[in-house]
Amino acid sequence: MSAMLAASTTSTGEAVQFWVLGTVAVIGALSTVLMRKAVHSALSLAGTMIVLAVFYLANGAYFLGIVQIVVYTGAIMMLFLFVVMLVGVTAADSLHETLKGQRWLAVLCGLGFGILLCAGIANASLKTWNGTGTANAGGNVEGLAELIFTKYVFAFEITGALLITAAVGAMVLTHRERVEGRKSQREQSQDRARRGIPGQPAPSGSGWPLVTPAPAPGVYARHNAVDIPGLLPDGSTAEVSVNATLRERGQIRDVSGRALAALAELERRAGDWRQQRGGTGATVVRTDPSGSTRYRPEGGATVYTPEDEAGRQSADRPADDGANDGHAPEGAAK
């Protein structure tokens, strides 16, 4: 192998390898540049790097080849991928150039630079390649180690320092300092109050400035579903009590009317029962107006008729309604 490396021309095997893998490397490099998604760029770059590692090996830089794979492809590229994920994997930046003339200039410079570079290499007479055979005689790693710890020891130390600094620097940069202490409950409530002052922007969805904690959904212990708005003292529904998402989706189940309807039904039956008993209607009469004033069937009607939607809902699903209501025996009785 060393003899082969000493030669000024390479073996056909290496030549084949070079041409194949070289093409791969170039394609990888190009796709690194041209892919719209950062992830793809990263992956293709990793590919290129692996190819390069192979080339290192082929050039007798065994240690470097390994390091290339382990450190670069293994660590650095992974780091890249992490960051890409962090920044947003879906973010595909458009290749549309915003700077005027930038693209042409870049291509021009690139071509010119490349051509010049190649020209430079070309007219440098690189005829005799006295390969790395002798240098690697004592083993590649040993040779490197010897150099690093003798000739390049200072550089080595300094790179060490550099790495530490880099680590610290990375921490400093990414560490986010909490600028203000956590809010106590008292402060939170105060904030709410402050936000609730009429004239202040109201919390989204609620029709009025909200000072108190938002009411809980599932009213009267008959409903405990999150999609059922709590009732307010005047019988209207408090949409705030429903989760904002559900609110957005319009999945609110309004059952406020049904309770009244049920009550009205109950009283009718109770009235019938009295008339069958022929008891003195005085008390009935006495209680009736109050009851009628309190729960008027019209009141129920008012709930029903406008919100036929809600009514239909309740009409459609008596079963689960009952299940939800937790009056299973009654429902079963019906």
Binding site: L99, L105, C109, G110, G112, L116, L117, G120, N123
Partner: protein, 646 residues
């Protein structure tokens, strides 16, 4: 004796200094002081004259070197006075007439609150004029030359609140400046030619220089003379100069200053003698001017302007004579002196008339004054006879000689000049008779005094009550006496001079003299002069004596109308010089703002714009900078490769 010469100048100069710097305290005595100092210098002049007569003809000239004036490198100008017969003549004329006019002014300016300053200016003029004629080098003469210009500026514009006066003064000074350019260039030429400009060396060795140089010098001197002596083409200022008080017109613009040109040419005779072309130019100018002035004089109704025209033409005579060379110098000076007498007398008479007529200057509004102001009439009449060359009077002697000399020039040139002078004589007779008739004869054509705003109205003693006929009266003694004296001068001076050629012999050592070969005998010339004289007078009589004169001037022929406008000289100047000048200056001013300054501002603006454009390259996009970096790297590689290749 030499030191007296200095005093001659110093006396009036002192007077000027005292009167101008001294405060109002001097207002009471100012005029007396001024007159006294003028008299002093006249006395000194007389003493020197007597002394000079005592000397031998050969060494009559005095010289007094005062101090070295401008010693710079090879350029040496000294302050030195030279008093020879020529200067002497002028000294006597200047101081004599000057003193008389001082006396006259005492009465004339009586009611002017700035009389002190007036006398200061008069003294200043005397000093400058004496400096002019006494200087022993051209540069000092130049000082006097400009000095009289200044004095005339101040005196013409004495009534500065009259815009017309101020304008006239400015015009006079500037036109004179044009002439001064000629004088200064002449001096420079002398310096480059002879290395000096003192009379003695320059004149004694004039002929050693080439004729070309001398012609140039001569023409430049002629230009100067034209400016100062109101000769064509620089004559336009004299008419307007009549805005000044009449004594000023008499002294400066008739008797003395305007004759400085004649002095200059006569003094520089040596140069002109050696430069025939220059002489031709001189005589041409003289001839043209003498006709020009005479024609203008015929048309003017303003008495002073008419006299101004006559002055112009008389000086034309002198210049012409001086241009004739040695034949004419003496007679030029002689006519200058006699003219000094009678023209001063005429002006003083005119002043006296205006004084009496509420400062009316229009002769058509005079008439029949002889009965009311006999002395004025008499003196004016004598002056009139003298100027038209009535036999026996001063003018006769001097002018006749000039006409002879003109013929004596010989050749066609001689004939032309002679004819011109004769024609001039005829016209002179005509317009002077016209003045005489319009003013003193005929019926009264007096007009009620106009309100002072329109006319001069500022002339002192003019208690002009608007709407009231003037009541002419004879002027006070202080005014009549000088007129009488001058009248005597204008009667006898000529004859006195001509007694066995006294004047010729007197001046000959300085100017030289020779009798040209005249194709006509003196008698013939005299006869001819008489004839044209009679013709002129008769014409004037026919026109103004026999039939009554209209108060408003008739439209008159084209020539008359042109002559009333000074033969369109001002229109000419206006079209040729003034208007283009205005456009030029305004244009240049605009150019200065737009082009010259604009170029600078434009440069500044362009720099600003460029930097603003370059600033755009710094668009803040890291990638743009990266491109330039990358391109730079490429260029570097290219450079290295090229270096390797080369």
């Amino acid at each position: 004796m030499e030191n007296l010469i200095g005093l001659l100048v110093a006396a009036p100069l002192l007077g000027a200094a005292v009167l101008l710097c001294g405060g109002r305290a001097l207002d009471r005595v100012g005029h007396w002081l001024g007159t006294a100092l003028a008299g002093v210098s006249f006395l000194i002049g007389a003493v020197l004259f007597a002394d000079m007569l005592g000397e031998e003809t050969s060494d009559r000239a005095l010289h007094s070197h005062l101090f070295s004036w401008i010693p710079v490198g090879g350029f040496r100008a000294d302050v030195g006075f030279q008093l020879d017969q020529l200067s002497m003549t002028f000294v006597l004329l200047i101081t004599g007439v000057g003193t008389l006019i001082h006396i006259y002014s005492i009465g004339y300016m009586e009611h002017d609150e700035r009389r002190r300053r007036f006398f200061g200016y008069l003294n200043l003029f005397l000093a400058a004029m004496l400096l002019l004629v006494l200087a022993d080098n051209y540069l000092l003469l130049y000082v006097g030359w400009e000095g009289v210009g200044l004095a005339s500026y101040l005196l013409i514009g004495f009534w500065q609140h009259k815009p017309s006066a101020a304008t006239a003064a400015k015009k006079a000074f500037i036109v004179n400046r044009v002439g001064d350019v000629g004088l200064s260039i002449a001096i420079m030429l002398m310096f480059t030619t002879f290395g000096t400009f003192a009379f003695a060396p320059v004149l004694s060795e004039a002929d050693r220089a080439g004729e070309g140089k001398l012609t140039a010098i001569g023409l430049m001197l002629l230009l100067a003379a034209c400016g100062k002596s109101a000769q064509v083409p620089l004559q336009s200022w004299l008419g307007d100069a009549m805005e000044g008080p009449t004594p000023v017109s008499a002294l400066i613009h008739a008797a003395t200053m305007v004759t400085a040109g004649v002095y200059l040419i006569t003094r520089s005779g040596a140069i002109f003698n050696a430069a025939p072309d220059a002489q031709t130019a001189v005589v041409t100018v003289g001839a043209v001017t003498l006709l020009f002035g005479a024609i203008v004089g015929c048309a003017k109704d303003d008495i002073k302007k008419a006299l101004a025209g006559s002055t112009m033409s008389q000086i034309g005579y002198m210049i012409l004579a001086a241009g004739l060379g040695p034949i004419g110098y003496v007679f030029a000076i002689m006519h200058l002196v006699t003219h000094g007498f009678f023209k001063a007398g005429l002006f003083l008479g005119a002043g006296s008339v205006m004084h009496a007529m509420n400062d009316e200057v229009d002769m058509r509004k005079y008439g029949g004054l002889r009965r009311y102001m006999p002395i004025t009439f008499a003196t004016f009449g004598l002056g009139y006879l003298a100027i038209i060359g009535f036999p026996g009077l001063s003018g006769f002697w001097s002018k006749d000689k000039i006409i002879e000399a003109a013929f004596a020039k010989g050749g066609t040139e001689g004939w032309i000049l002679g004819a011109a002078t004769l024609l001039g004589a005829a016209i002179t007779a005509y317009y002077m008779t016209r003045v005489m008739l319009l003013t003193f004869f005929g019926e009264k054509r007096w007009q009620p005094a106009p309100d002072p705003h329109k006319t001069a109205g500022i002339e002192p003693g003019a208690e002009a009550h608007p709407g009231e006929l003037p009541h002419p009266h004879e002027s006070p003694k202080s005014m009549t006496i000088p007129m009488i004296v001058l009248a005597f001068g204008s009667v006898f001076a000529g004859g006195l001079f001509s007694l066995n050629d006294a004047f010729v012999n007197w001046l000959e050592p300085v100017t030289g003299h020779d009798h040209g070969d005249s194709p006509l005998s003196a008698a013939t010339v005299t006869a001819g002069t008489m004839v044209v004289l009679v013709v002129g007078v008769a014409l004037a009589w026919a026109q103004y004596g026999r039939r009554p004169v209209p108060v408003t001037a008739p439209r008159g022929s084209a020539l008359t109308r042109a002559a009333r406008r000074d033969l369109l000289q001002d229109d000419f100047n206006h079209v040729v010089l003034v208007k283009p000048g205005e456009y030029l200056t305004r244009g240049l001013d605009r150019v200065d703002h737009t082009l010259v300054d604009g170029a600078v501002n434009g440069a500044a603006a362009s720099v600003g714009g460029l930097s603003g454009r370059l600033r755009k390259l710094q668009n803040g996009y890291a990638r743009t900078y990266a491109v330039s970096m990358f391109g730079g790297a490429a260029v570097l590689i290219a450079a290295t490769l090229l270096m390797r290749a080369v």
